[in-house]
């Protein structure tokens, strides 16, 4: 059945058509509610399992038989996985919810600096060199733009090739938009995988590179909430560039 679009509009970027970014159809709104509700209730269940496990383990003797030790290990591993999954899905749900955004003037360099600060241990560990050109101010949500850069730069650090990672962030302007690129010299991505790259839970690697497969899906949601678009350009063995647009004000 056709459902009329529902205005859920929140704070859309000033100066932009307020209808375009934040009109969700009923199906999208229901999906958002499903996601929010599932995350909330799963958090409660996760908390109950996690804390009950702690209480049970606290009452166990220090020397466990083989089966008990296995069960405890599996419980702890499962709880940690659930925790990571819930954090990822929760973050995705938040970034997908345009009504949760708070738009205002943002110096993109500030968002990048905050992102790099949160990645400092990984940057230090990999010895990565991160450089950027002159970055503009845009109308956006600082917190979400910081998360966008944290995901993109974090990916560049995670999927490093045989060289010390070098990551460049640049911006250029066309008539309507700012075009940003986050370019690395990492392992690259085969073109056959580009289409599904921004789909939730689509992973290109096994357990050798940990991750949930949500980072790029979150990036797309953030960029789209800002009325932009994101794409990938890559060559296997040479590196990857994530290119996204944000409206120029």
């Amino acid at each position: 059945m056709w459902a009329a679009p529902i205005q859920l509009c929140s704070p859309s970027p000033p100066g932009r058509d307020p209808a375009s970014p934040c009109v969700l159809d009923r199906s999208e709104r229901d999906t958002q509610r499903l996601l929010d509700g599932a995350v909330h209730d799963l958090r409660g269940a996760h908390r109950a399992i996690s804390i009950s496990t702690e209480l049970l383990i606290g009452g166990l003797p220090s020397q466990l038989d083989h089966d008990a030790a296995y069960a405890v290990r599996e419980l702890q591993t499962g709880i940690a996985k659930m925790n990571a999954l819930l954090s990822g899905v929760s973050s995705y749900a938040l970034c997908a919810s345009v009504s949760s955004y708070s738009f205002g003037p943002v110096a993109v360099e500030t968002a990048l600096t905050l992102a790099l600060a949160s990645l400092e241990p990984e940057i230090r560990k990999t010895g990565a060199v991160v450089v950027h050109g002159v970055l503009p101010s845009v109308v956006g949500d600082l917190r979400r733009l910081t998360e966008l850069f944290r995901n993109l730069v974090g990916n560049a650090l995670k999927y490093q090739g045989s060289y010390v990672p070098r990551i460049e962030i640049n911006a250029s302007q066309n008539s309507h938009d700012w075009l940003f690129s986050v370019q690395d010299n990492g392992i690259g991505i085969d073109q056959k995988h580009w289409d599904g790259l921004f789909v939730p839970f689509r992973r290109l690697h096994g357990s050798e590179i940990p991750g949930l497969g949500l980072g790029l899906a979150i990036c797309r949601k953030i960029v789209e909430a800002h009325e932009g678009s994101i794409r990938v350009e890559s060559q296997v063995g040479l590196g990857t560039a994530f290119v996204f647009t944000l409206p120029a004000t």
Partner: protein
Amino acid sequence: MSILLIEDSEGDIFLVRRALEKHGLKHDVIVARDGEQALRMLHQAEKGPAADVPQIVLLDLNLPKVGGSQILSHIRRTQALAAMPVIVLTSSDSPADRDSMVALGANVYFRKSTDLQSFMELGQVVKQLLATR
């Protein structure tokens, strides 16, 4: 002296009681398991003697029937209750949720942790808030 706990999860009620006991808080803990029941209790408290007003409210946000934010609004606009400290208990890590609860007048926004020790810190938070009254 009483603490009003507005919470629908039996597991969380158990943990809150344990956190209060762990920090030596021997108050009567009165539990409302949904928003309507909480509002009824609050209406009773506002009509009764001042001594019947709970010393502190521990408020879950996602409640059956009436949500936590409506209850917080009711407390803050009711003269007999307005000075009552309210700790919002939530699973949400959304900064927007936190900001909106603080704007509505929550004294503390306590995120329910998934590890026991962090959850038990709630007792200390309650103790500190009561000490400032």
